[in-house]
């Protein structure tokens, strides 16, 4: 058994027993996104996150730049004049099936909820920062304001009241769809077939639909019209904890080398 199997979404949700819920997620259909950034604003409002300031990036209509500790939705704008099109994509935490951030968190501040989503317990996190380089999507980040890390909670508080997450609620074109992951996957498959039927979008694909990628599929997955890296997404994200056994094995060789070397250096008659 792999080290990280016990922390997979299904295994952890099962520990909730009767309180376990069907896994929830987002299907972000980028073909419908109009770049209005209503999701960004709704997220900031609901989660009471500070604004990003007045930075002007000169990178199309994107002045948000990235997801970080206080920005949990980010709309990417990709202008492709040679293809006569704009690509827009609302990015978010992927709530991975195998979540690297959760696996490496030493305090247990990052946990899996009964909805199969991943959240930070802000009163437990001590700001060690390990999850930051561990995330294969560059989502989670340390917040300079209070020292701990922050990321999308899939509006855990709203979910517990049976409400839709703020971003999906605010999306005017249903580019962001929220629901049971099984339903979303079915809907996404149908949608992909329809989109691909159009000769301009034969390259369309479902990104992170899972389960055959390096994170075992995501709770938040996407319909993309171009390669992931064009949107600033990694083409082959991996939860590296999958290889942790191999890494410790290499470390064990090094440990043996330490003992061996020091013993060898100590050989010889006493002075």
């Amino acid at each position: 058994m792999e080290l990280f199997e016990p922390t997979a979404a299904s295994a952890e949700v099962a520990t909730y027993g009767e309180r376990a819920q069907p896994r929830k997620g987002f299907f972000t259909d980028t073909t419908l996104c109009i770049g209005c950034k209503a999701c960004e604003v709704a997220c900031k409002e609901w989660n009471q996150l500070p604004a990003d300031g007045y930075a002007f990036t000169a990178q199309s209509y994107d002045n948000t730049g990235e997801l970080n500790g206080t920005t949990w939705r980010h709309v990417a704008f990709v202008e492709q004049p040679q293809k006569s099109r704009w690509l827009m994509e609302s990015d978010v935490c992927k709530h991975c099936t195998h979540a690297a951030c959760l696996d490496v968190c030493p305090t247990g501040a990052l946990v899996r909820t009964e909805f199969g989503t991943v959240i930070v317990q802000e009163d437990v996190c001590n700001g060690c920062g390990y999850c930051v380089p561990a995330c294969p999507f560059g989502v989670i980040d340390k917040r300079p304001e209070d020292g701990h890390v922050g990321k999308c909670t899939l509006c855990y508080d709203r979910l517990r009241d049976g409400e839709t997450p703020a971003c999906a609620k605010a999306c005017p074109t249903e580019s962001i769809q929220y629901g049971d992951l099984d339903d979303l996957r079915r809907r996404a498959d149908e949608r992909l077939e329809k989109v691909r039927a159009d000769e301009r979008f034969t390259d369309a694909s479902l990104y992170l639909r899972g389960p055959d990628d390096g994170i075992g599929g995501a709770g938040a997955f996407f319909l993309l019209l171009d390669r992931p890296e064009v949107y600033g997404l990694p083409p082959d994200p991996v939860d590296t904890t999958r290889d942790l056994g191999k890494m410790w094995r290499r470390a064990a060789y090094a440990m043996a080398a330490i003992v061996g070397t020091i013993a060898l250096c100590s050989v010889g008659p006493r002075a």
Binding site: T7, S84, C128, P133, G147, P211, R250, A251, A271
Partner: protein, 315 residues
């Protein structure tokens, strides 16, 4: 109906920054690590402490008691300073005890926190048993425990950085433990060379010289195998630390060999080799930062994996 496809010659505004096919405006795909310089210092001190525990026990068994005492105090200094450095790096310092809130085998940092704590108890226990309680048997039990945990403390930090998405770290998971192990041996050797009496210095000198050479060789091997991904090691801050590390290691080894019977020469050599180890850790940390910030490294490595079909699908 389809206005988009009719626009045959779209004109992009001159000042607009074009997004390339390989990245999103050259923006990082990953977040670089957010660790402060306390962390590379801890990596070096922790690595040295671990190797010192092993050396201390072997010296004790051989009857080199003065050497064993030196390594005991080196280790004690290490286990006292290490937690301080780690706490200073935390974003919410007063929650440092949360590090021991759970034990998580999937988190090398959790494993490391427990190992550091246990090693701290063993080193302190040995000291108290010998100096306060006058119970040498108990002290030896503690020494054995410390020597068992020491190598874990020296190498777990390599596993820690390898278990991230940062390409230059993760792809080096085979070599990094050896680099850190060599640096730990060199560090412990350097400390004992500086403080042990001349009559018991031999093993320490050997460790210092062998460790410094091994660190250079394993690090070079690592960078060679990384190929394009290893580029950061020759650029920017990482490149500077790398060059400093090589120069310090070389001059330290040379000085140790030339002035082998001179205490002063040995002490200076020890300082140089110790500095080489510190610089190596700083180079590793900065290379990680550059690696995560360059989308080309991330895309390059992942496209290659996808093409070769190396990655086996998960269940």
């Amino acid at each position: 109906m389809n206005t988009l496809s009719r626009a045959s010659e779209p004109v992009a505004p001159e000042r607009a920054v074009q997004s390339s096919p390989d990245s999103y405006y050259g923006r990082p795909i990953l977040k670089p690590h957010v660790w402060t310089p306390f962390v590379p210092w801890y990596f070096w001190i922790g690595g040295t402490t671990g190797a010192a525990c092993v050396h201390g026990l072997i010296a004790r068994i051989r009857g080199d008691d003065e050497l064993a005492e030196v390594q005991r105090w080196v280790a004690f200094g290490g286990i006292v300073t290490s937690p301080v450095l780690l706490i200073l790096d935390l974003g919410v310092r007063h929650r440092f005890l949360n590090m021991l809130r759970v034990f998580k085998p999937t988190s090398p940092m959790s494993v490391g926190s427990w190992v550091l704590s246990a090693l701290g108890a063993a080193v302190t226990g040995s000291l108290v048993a010998d100096k306060v309680l006058g119970a040498p048997a108990l002290a030896r039990v503690c020494d054995v425990a410390a020597a068992g945990l020491g190598p874990v403390l020296t190498t777990y930090t390599a596993v820690l950085v390898s278990n991230t998405a940062t390409p230059v770290w993760h792809e080096a998971h085979a070599e990094l433990p050896l680099v850190f192990a060599s640096s730990g041996i060199a560090g412990a050797g350097a400390c004992a060379t500086a403080f042990a009496p001349a009559a018991q210095r031999r093993s320490a000198r050997r460790m210092m010289i062998a460790g410094a050479i091994a660190m250079g060789v394993t690090a070079r091997e690592m960078e060679k195998r990384l190929g394009v991904l290893g580029e950061p090691y020759s650029r920017g801050t990482a490149g500077a630390f790398k060059r400093a590390s090589s120069m310090l290691a070389l001059s330290g080894v040379a000085l140790a060999l030339i002035g082998r019977s001179s205490t002063l020469a040995n002490r200076v050599a020890a300082l140089l080799v110790a500095g080489a180890g510190v610089c190596e850790r700083f180079a590793v940390l900065d290379a990680g930062k550059q690696s995560a910030e360059g989308p080309k490294y991330v895309v390059h490595q992942q496209r290659e994996t996808l093409q070769n079909g190396e990655r086996k699908p998960l269940r």
